[in-house]
């Protein structure tokens, strides 16, 4: 049997982060030229008001299409999706994105755990997730579920993180496939 049939290809790359994560995204995004086989979904903590400054900032840093996330839009390879403020972002097995305004998780909506857990449940081994800088423990539980479902877990090296709490908390609780600095994260994404 060929190796490809054993290890399914990544169909969605999740990137979660909080304080200090935007700086990492700003370094990485301009250097990504095409992602033909997978989609990127960004879940970062943001203030709960109706504005799209984060989407605009991300769109300004990349040539990849940044899709406006509305309820039940299709998750398609090649695109970047950003979890909107004041909603949790969930994944349906038929590749649609669902939104949810239920209670905050880890004081956050969107919560990284919620999206990571949902992706693990919907897509299992086809998920890769990167947890970046932050001052909160959100993301750790979600990474554990991704790992358990056979997905790939990448954690930003706390030494390279502006706020190391979030990646450190994840490292202490989840067996990472890769622990990478910003350059390493970029190379990892390019290798997918």
């Amino acid at each position: 049997m060929e190796k490809d049939t054993v290890t399914p290809r990544c169909k969605v790359l999740l990137i979660g982060g909080s304080a200090g994560s935007l700086e990492v995204l700003i370094k990485i995004l301009p250097r990504l030229t095409a992602i033909p086989t997978f989609a990127i979904v960004i879940i970062v903590h943001r203030k709960s008001s109706e504005d799209s400054t984060l989407e605009e900032l991300i769109a300004a840093k990349t040539t990849l299409p940044v899709k406006d996330v509305e309820d039940k839009v299709v998750l398609e390879p090649g695109n970047i999706y950003v979890a909107p403020s004041d909603y949790h972002l969930l994944f349906e097995k038929n590749n649609l994105l669902s939104l949810d305004t239920s209670e905050k998780v880890n004081y956050s909506r969107p919560s990284i755990d919620v999206s990571f857990e949902s992706a693990a449940d919907a897509f299992g081994p086809e998920v890769a997730a990167i947890l970046l800088s932050g001052a909160n423990s959100d993301g750790t539980h979600g990474l554990a579920e991704i790992r358990e479902a056979g997905g790939i877990v990448v954690i930003q090296d706390p030494e390279s993180a502006e706020i190391p709490f979030m990646p450190r908390n994840a490292l202490e609780n989840v067996a990472a496939n890769y622990i990478l600095d910003v350059e390493g994260i970029l190379r990892y994404i390019q290798s997918l």
Partner: protein, 271 residues
């Protein structure tokens, strides 16, 4: 925190329909699964079988389940800029009618219904309006009828109110007591609350404005379409439909019958 698997979720959906006649088959699975997991956690069930048995055999527990798995997060003047558009652009138009009927579908604990009553009062339209507010969950309707909300939320609501274009002192709309804010009966006297299930219940009146914000996100596309047909059937010609900030009718064939108001989540029925 995912505890139940897909097969168990489908089993629960089937049994709920068979034993109680409530149809959750059109609900978004990603969201519903989280809610059921949360319920199992909240009520301390050791396994899925325990939950299923209780749902089958105890009608009161089933009622509790419906109350807990539906999402009841809401606030007054939620998305205040949306309310500003209602205040400045929509109310002056529907206000020319001799009588105004508004339906809040999926009103939860009623915060948005009271917000609407405040807008209508300030536009001097409340006396000729009726606000129908419905939800699948009877418990939240009891809260809504009382018009009593946590006092600690009032700072946020007051700010929302001002962003929506409110000019008055927000605190004169309620009486503060024991950590709660009670909104006046001058606001609630034009409200009619009743239980209504968007999955199974039909149209019950003709409305000039229907608000259903952050409810359709819990449905799959098929059920969303069914609800949109119900709203279309329940809207007067030139009436308005308002959805949540991330909801849309653009995937529905019904969109031909509506015209979007600028870039707002507001559509005018034109056919």
């Amino acid at each position: 925190m995912v505890l139940i698997d897909d097969r168990e979720l489908e089993l629960l959906i089937n049994d709920v329909f068979e034993y109680h006649g409530f149809d959750f088959s059109g609900y978004s699975r990603a969201s519903l699964k989280r809610r059921v997991d949360r319920l199992i956690h909240l009520d301390g069930f050791k396994n899925f079988g325990e939950l299923l048995y209780k749902v089958r055999t105890e009608p009161d527990y089933f009622k509790h389940m419906v109350e807990e798995i539906t999402v009841n997060v809401t606030e007054m003047f939620r998305d205040p800029l949306f309310y500003k558009v209602l205040r400045n652009e929509i109310l002056p138009i529907i206000g020319t009618k001799p009588f105004i009927r508004i339906w809040h579908a999926g009103c939860s604990t009623g915060e948005e219904v009271y917000s609407m009553a405040i807008l209508l009062k300030e536009a001097n339209l409340l006396h000729k309006s009726l606000l129908y507010a419905t939800d699948i969950n009877g418990l939240v309707l009891d809260v809504a009828k009382k018009g009593i909300f946590p006092l600690h939320m009032m700072k946020q609501y007051s700010e929302n109110y001002m962003v929506s274009g409110g000019k008055k002192d927000f605190s004169h709309y309620y009486t503060a007591n024991y950590g709660y804010a009670k909104f006046g009966e001058d606001l609630s006297e034009k409200m009619v609350f009743s239980q209504h299930n968007l999955v199974s219940d039909g149209s019950f009146n003709e409305f000039d404005l229907i608000l259903c914000r952050n409810v359709l996100i819990y449905f799959d596309k098929e059920l969303q379409e069914k609800a949109l047909v119900l709203f279309d059937d329940s809207l007067a010609k030139l009436g308005y439909l308002a959805l949540g900030t991330k909801e849309t009718i653009k995937f529905s064939p019904l969109q031909m019958r509506f015209k979007q108001v600028d870039r707002e989540k507001l559509w005018k029925k034109i056919l």
